[in-house]
Amino acid sequence: MEFTVRACSGHGRVGSLRLASGLEFETPSLLMITRRGLPVVIPPEMLMDLHPDSRACQFTPMHFLEDPLAAVVAKAGGVHKLASLTGFAMVAVARDSLGNEIAGEEASNLGASFETSSGRRIVGLEKYMEVVNACKPDLWVSLPDEVPHWVPEKRNRESVDHTSQWLDHCLSLQHAEHGNRCLGVVVGAGSLEERARSAEQAATRNVAGFSLAGFGLGEDVAQRGFHLEVAIAKLPNDKLRHVCGLGSPEEVLQAVGAGIDLLDSTYPYMLTKECLAMTFPLKMEVPLRNADRDMQPTPDHGVASGFSLAKVNLRSATYGIDETPLVTGCKCYTCKRHTKVYINQLLNSNETLAQTLLEIHNTYHYLEFFKAIRESIKADKFHEFRTWFTSQRVFGMTYDVSESFVA
């Protein structure tokens, strides 16, 4: 595996990652979500052609802990073969981004509590590495003792100690022939000192990169920024950095701005579940939409307001049958073939095809977002891009496909 930084803009960087399998792609990169190895709703045979960058997925080893799936993946020879996703990067991330809550429960020296396919249970090191080795991922995150920012100091310190010990233990249990594929976890929760300590410890280990944990748990946005900065300052520049738990566009921009290279995000899927299509513009040259000229964007205008403005836009549009695609000019499978009115009717009839078509579009659009981020870094304009994006986002981030717009 090889990771090379190619361009920088502030702390953000574009890198090229070449995996042991030969697959090569640019970072910052989005890891698409899978469940038990397969996309949630996108037909697996469509994944390869979905977008030029649709090559990297995350999966959760916690779904593969028990038989029969544990035996099945071992027998198949790994998750790539199991899910027939050879040619894709499969990254094992312990945290189930689609559902679990990290409660900061007590953890022993032997393992921490995770949401698995059989409910919440303690997952120990031996079992975790057994599953990781059976899955044969391209990259894997070491077993984290991840806690939220509000736990007591003592618990936080303990989580840093556990995480560091478990990193060593995981490394000792990895299969030698797989080479260096570990992303060492960095925790630290509410304490910048602990965050720095965790990063320092991980930085000395022989890993392929790092996975920053403890985010996306309700922490203050500014605090998160400090934690990212403090952690990354202690990490070597030439190794990969992944963060889990951050997935919205603003979070992605914050993470990339701090120097993150890989993110697994449920943002496209969360929109799909709410019948929303991703519509935000991707190019800085596109002028702000003038739907509501008097509206002044405020710094932390919630995404919810963005939704309601999108609805306002719809209602003020000419009533009629909208035979345009979700996003005009979008080259995804859905937009090349189908219209808003059609998808709207599928949704209102509870047809699962609606989810499939929406998810295809939302994933494509998000991959285009990541591409735009990389382009801005290469042009050394990341800061401008981030500022532009954050200021325009109040005007129609999404389109509510379930809203009926036929008079």
Binding site: R36, V40, P43, S84, V341, Y342, E351, T356
Partner: protein, 368 residues
Amino acid sequence: MLGISPSMALRFEVLARHNRARASRLTLPHYEALTPLFMPVGTQGTIKGLTNDQLEDLDCQIILGNTYHLALRPGADLLDTIGGLHKFMNWPRALLTDSGGFQMVSLLHLADITEEGVTFQSPVDGKPMLLTPEDSIQIQNKIGADIIMALDDVVKTTTTGPRVEEAMYRTLRWIDRCIAAHSRPHEQNLFGIVQGGLDPQLRDICLEGLVARNLPGYAIGGLAGGEGKDAFWRVVAQCTAGLPEDKPRYVMGIGFPLDIVVCTALGADMYDCVYPTRTARFGSALVSEGVLRLTHAAMATDYRPLDSSCTCMVCKRYTRAYLHTLVTKEAMGSQLVSYHNISHMMQLSRNLHSSILEGRFPDIHGGS
């Protein structure tokens, strides 16, 4: 312009026969189909979760839309404005719509049949409504499918007594109203539906009446509702014997592979059923040996594909064991099994067509 008479918009050429079975080419306005043919059913014209590309990959040639659901949502007028269901769905191949009557009777509260039409309570506001033969055809004209079905008076095969006769005669009276109401005979083919329950005399009268109307094609209706197999096949045999050789014959509601093989042997050409996709949602896969219950514990250690003779995407990529872990837990599980089941039915259709064409179609033993 297709067809040999002004009321037709199709061409039907029998390419080969084997006893009563036929392998044919059915040329419709939107597509040239090969029969015997299974037609998957989608309410909105879409088959559960499958994209148009997947449907084409699976060799689906004609798919069904339910007029009742389409009239409710998105509505016939919207479809008309857009230019029809083909355009709405962006489906380049053929479509068939049912009359809407059957669904109303089976789904709706207080649905009833009178000489005027089907009366029912509106599912939207509970008001009394009426679907006449004229309404059904007008709605189907707006939807724009290649084949449209006449509104018939259908009774369950288990019904006995004068109701069966009443329904048969009404079906004949209604076909004339359907023909009169049909405003697009050069673009859409109106199929009549043979009724008459299990009574051979009633079936004969209906057959004669419909054949005299010189329709582009015919369906055999009122079956697959609880009658015994012998009775079912006997009625199919009688109907195919009484229908013209040079027109397609569609047995409605048939989806068990064995039934399709038998009906083909008896001279039928087209079939539809929700069974393949419905059974997929319960974790059952259609395979050469029968039905595979993927939820069964034995599947957990079975590393074979669903069907070793199937070449579909699912059978090429995934094992029974993996699918077993998916079916009750992930939506993707039943999506993959649906995909395979449709593939199975289309492979069956291709096998029937080619085996008849090549003189390999097996004789059916016993029966009538």
